[in-house]
């Protein structure tokens, strides 16, 4: 026999890798098609724009390709590409950290800080508590202890914090007040994201799963130690990264090496030591952008260029990983979170931004913006699955995805409805004026 062919095990691995590649290529192809000129007219429809920008098309595609539909890609195979997922989390964290340049932070009004703080605190406490109660109700008695439900509860809690920064699809008329509110919504979404990562990064290491132990344990002291390690790592990476970027200069290939190397190193070390890659990378981004006077224009441009494809990839992987068999407890949890987002978040916004929201003319749905879930929630849920690749984690990912979908679509439908009402009012008024003129 000619032993020139691959072994059977290696061939199997290759086939599995090919499936994952095929799934990614399919979504990339769909993304290219959807962003092409031919479908521009379709993209102008609010609903379609929201589905695309929210990543729901990619999530739906991932779900179709995943083990609970067509089974083209098995989730066990996907978890083999965990290094790339960890790299992706680091990317997300770094981008978020890079937003916090001190010149920008100085411009944030106090009202926005208050809004973000209140929304974050309320969302986290209420949703984490609700999640804990629902899980205790839903699970066998012996597992309804803090060490089992701590991580799921805090993950749902941080996913509830903040809102989506995207405002174009809940179009308001372009008045100065609407523009100002839109900017504040975007800035607030960024701040909320940072707060969510900080809280997740601080609390997630409290639950640890040691090798050799079948069940998790709670170690708060370890979490504090890991937080210090994250800060130290972020600081070293930030200052060191700045120096490396200076060495690379304007040479794009060298900047690419520094960027990939930095993100992989930070997120990999964080994952190995047991703290959140998101937090470590975010802290590194914070230090990187503020450590010197000069802006890292080329570096930031390079990072942001890949933001959209990375986001699409995350959505696709989330769709493949999620497990929709959530059971009664899951349905109750979804309804509870959606109810909270619809009932409480707009109230918080109007109480903190009252003057501005009253001045924004109707015909748009900017006041429903806080209802929409932050895209970061999907990344946090994927981080949970990476941390603990269990059936529960995947079902919680499904919960977060469904909450996000409903909370994204309803404000848009409200916006469309309001625009139609206004259009009808205007048409009626014009017809009345015209008939009076004729008489």
């Amino acid at each position: 026999m000619l032993y020139l062919a691959e072994s059977a095990a290696r061939a199997h691995q290759t086939i599995e890798a090919l499936r994952v590649f095929g799934a990614v290529a399919l979504v990339a192809g769909i993304a290219l098609l959807l962003t092409s000129r031919r479908l521009a007219a379709l993209r102008r429809r609010q609903i379609v724009a929201a589905l695309i920008s929210g990543g729901w098309v990619a999530i739906a595609t991932g779900f179709l390709l995943g083990p609970h539909a067509l089974n083209v890609v098995r989730s066990a195979t996907l978890l083999e590409v965990r290094p790339l997922l960890i790299l992706g989390l680091g990317w997300v964290g770094l981008i978020i950290g890079l937003q916090a340049h001190r010149a920008v932070v100085k411009l944030i009004p106090n009202s926005l800080w208050r809004w973000v703080a209140l929304d974050g605190l309320l969302s986290f406490i209420v949703i984490a508590a609700l999640t804990s109660l629902i899980l205790v109700w839903g699970f066998p008695t012996e597992t309804s202890q803090a060490r089992w439900i701590f991580l799921p509860a805090i993950t749902l809690g941080v996913c509830a914090m903040g809102w989506s920064p995207e405002t174009r699809s809940i179009r308001a008329r372009a008045t100065p007040e609407a523009r100002r509110l839109g900017l504040l919504i975007q800035a607030g979404a960024g701040l909320s994201g940072m707060l969510a990562i900080l809280v997740f990064g601080l609390l997630s290491p409290v639950t640890t799963r040691a090798i050799g132990e079948a069940s998790p344990t709670l170690k708060p002291a370890l979490a504090i130690g890991l937080l210090v390690a994250a800060i130290v790592l972020g600081g070293i990476a930030g200052f060191g990264g700045r120096w490396l970027i200076r060495q690379a200069g304007r040479d794009r290939p060298q900047l690419l090496v520094v960027m990939l190397g930095l993100i992989a190193l930070i997120s990999g070390i964080a994952a190995e030591l047991g703290f959140s890659p998101l937090l470590a990378a975010m802290l590194a981004g914070l230090v990187l952008v503020n450590a010197g006077k000069a802006r890292l224009v080329n570096f930031e441009h390079l990072i942001h260029k890949a933001e959209h494809p990375m986001a699409m990839l995350f959505y696709l992987l989330a769709g493949i990983l999620l497990d929709p068999r959530v059971g009664a407890w899951g349905v109750v949890l979804i309804v509870a979170v959606i109810g909270f987002r619809f009932a409480i978040k707009p109230l918080v916004m109007s109480s903190m931004m009252g003057n501005l929201t009253r001045e924004v003319p109707k015909g748009g749905a900017l006041d429903t913006a806080p209802i929409r879930q932050a895209p970061l929630a999907i990344a946090l849920a994927v981080a949970l699955v990476l941390d603990e690749p269990s059936a529960l984690s995947r079902q919680l990912l499904a919960v977060i995805a469904l909450v996000g979908l409903v909370c994204d679509l309803v404000p848009i439908l409200i916006s469309i409805y309001q625009r139609r009402i206004r259009h009808r009012e205007l048409t009626t008024a014009a017809a009345t004026d015209s008939s009076e003129a004729t008489e």
Partner: protein, 469 residues
């Protein structure tokens, strides 16, 4: 204080800091031994925790990229190829150094993590071959094909025959062959001879890219290296099959039909697949707009995965695709190759550092006298065969004098062929020693080859900052 240090010292400090940080992480997160306990979630479902090597692969990726890049910059300061820096970095941090020195500390780049970076290797080969294909113009081939074929043919025959006969004559001094029958010894020497024909298109392309060398030597080096690779696959397949039939285990035989079928699928199929792919890519590439970077990555990864799955030769598929694109639609394909050039640096850092990390230093230490002998014989035959072939082909001047340096480096292709030998003769007493010696030879060529080729380009005056000869 640090600001007052010169650039190379600062790079050295940065490298040191990186090594310390990763070393500290490795020490803190030592891989556990023993059985992994299955864990449970709150629903009572069980799941297996992540394999430690898998999570650590992300750190390894970042560590290799930054460490290899900095080492490459240091090497550039001392007028050596950056490529050699990437390789040396891999050797220093790879698992074999700590084993060799008997240090009871975890390796900075453990074997478990290297294993999970295999996809990077496949991606790199596709990348490098796409670049190579994109560099070969059909006009050059038309005008120089006879010359390329002549030089290649004579060099291959010289190395094959020269190395085989020399080693056969020296075989009584090779301890592991003393007890073997004459026929076995002959075929082992023939296998070594074929293997020493191999060189590394990856190294040649990387050095040409790094130095931006332009000239007759650069063009010939690329074309000959690639042409030799094609010939080598045919030659190796035939020789291995004949050797397996003659001295292999009972039942392990391959008929002429099987060999021909394998060559038809593996070689011809790969080239045809590459040409078809090249046609397709050239048609869609101008639709990618701003997403050309992703497109390039997707193409390279797709070629690597599909070729492996279908049993094709990744190198040939990518080579043929690149060649087709650049010669049929040069304007349309320009953004594609421009983007490949931009993405080449991280790919080279990873590929060559991983290659360095996989070098088995213990084998090199154990078999260095025999390895050095084979290296010496090979160098003499490569030099002689290239000079003779160039003379017969009418090549004159500095290209004839320095062309041989392009045919010295060896890397991934040779290692893959050694793995085939090990599998084909598994169970034979001499095979482990033989493959160890051959790996030691490759290690020497891998480290010294790039430096020699860069020296040759420099002496031929084909690097921008080199003096005209």
């Amino acid at each position: 204080m640090i600001a007052r240090l010169g650039r190379p010292m600062r790079w050295l400090l940065a490298l040191g800091a990186l090594l310390i940080i990763v070393g500290a992480v490795r020490y803190l997160v030592q891989a556990p031994t023993g059985q992994v306990i299955v864990q449970h979630d709150a629903l009572g479902n069980s799941f297996e925790p992540s394999e430690p090597g898998l999570i650590g692969a992300t750190t390894a990726l970042g560590f290799i990229l930054l460490g290899a890049w900095i080492t490459g910059l240091l090497f550039r300061q001392i007028e050596l190829p950056k490529l050699s820096g990437y390789l040396l970095f891999g050797v220093l941090v790879g698992p074999s150094l700590t084993r060799l020195l008997g240090i009871d500390l975890p390796a900075l780049l453990p074997q478990g993590q290297l294993r999970h970076l295999a996809l990077v290797n496949s991606l790199a080969i596709a990348f490098i071959a796409l670049t190579a294909g994109g560099e070969i113009r059909i006009d050059f081939l038309r005008s120089g094909f006879k010359r390329i074929a002549t030089i290649t043919g004579i060099e291959v025959v010289t190395v094959l025959v020269g190395v085989t006969i020399t080693l056969w004559l020296l075989s009584p001094m090779m301890g592991f062959l003393r007890e073997e029958p004459a026929l076995t010894v002959f075929f082992i020497c023939l296998i070594i001879g074929v293997l020493e024909v191999a060189n590394s298109p990856a190294v040649v392309i990387a050095i040409l890219g790094e130095t931006r060398a332009k000239g007759q030597l650069a063009q010939l080096a690329l074309a000959i290296t690639i042409f030799k690779d094609l010939l080598l696959i045919i030659l190796f397949t035939i020789v291995l099959a004949v050797a397996v039939n003659a001295i292999g285990q009972d039942g392990a035989t391959a008929g002429a039909g099987e060999i021909a079928q394998y060559l038809a699928v593996h070689l011809v199929g790969s080239i045809v697949a590459g040409i078809v792919l090249g046609f397709g890519l050239a048609r869609v590439v101008h639709h990618t707009g701003d997403h050309v970077t992703l497109f390039v990555l997707a193409v390279a990864l797709g070629i690597a995965l599909v070729s492996e799955a279908l049993g094709l030769e990744t190198l040939l598929v990518a080579l043929a695709a690149g060649f087709t694109m650049v010669n049929l639609w040069p304007e349309r394909s320009a953004p594609f190759f421009h983007q490949i050039e931009r993405l080449a640096l991280p790919v080279y850092c990873l590929f060559f550092a991983i290659a360095g990390a996989k070098i088995e230093l213990s084998k090199l230490m154990q078999y260095w006298p025999l390895a050095l002998t084979i290296v010496g014989v090979r160098l003499a035959m490569v030099y002689g065969g290239t000079w003779l072939g160039a003379t017969v082909a009418g090549l004159r001047g500095t290209p004839r004098r320095w062309l041989w340096t392009a045919l010295v480096p060896q890397a991934g292709v040779t290692i893959a062929l050694i793995a085939s030998i090990e599998q084909s003769f598994a169970g034979q007493e001499w095979v482990m020693t033989l493959t160890s010696v051959l790996l030691a030879v490759v290690a020497i060529h891998e480290v010294a080859g790039p430096m020699l080729f860069r020296f040759g380009l420099h002496r031929a005056g084909e690097i921008a900052d080199s003096p005209r000869p």
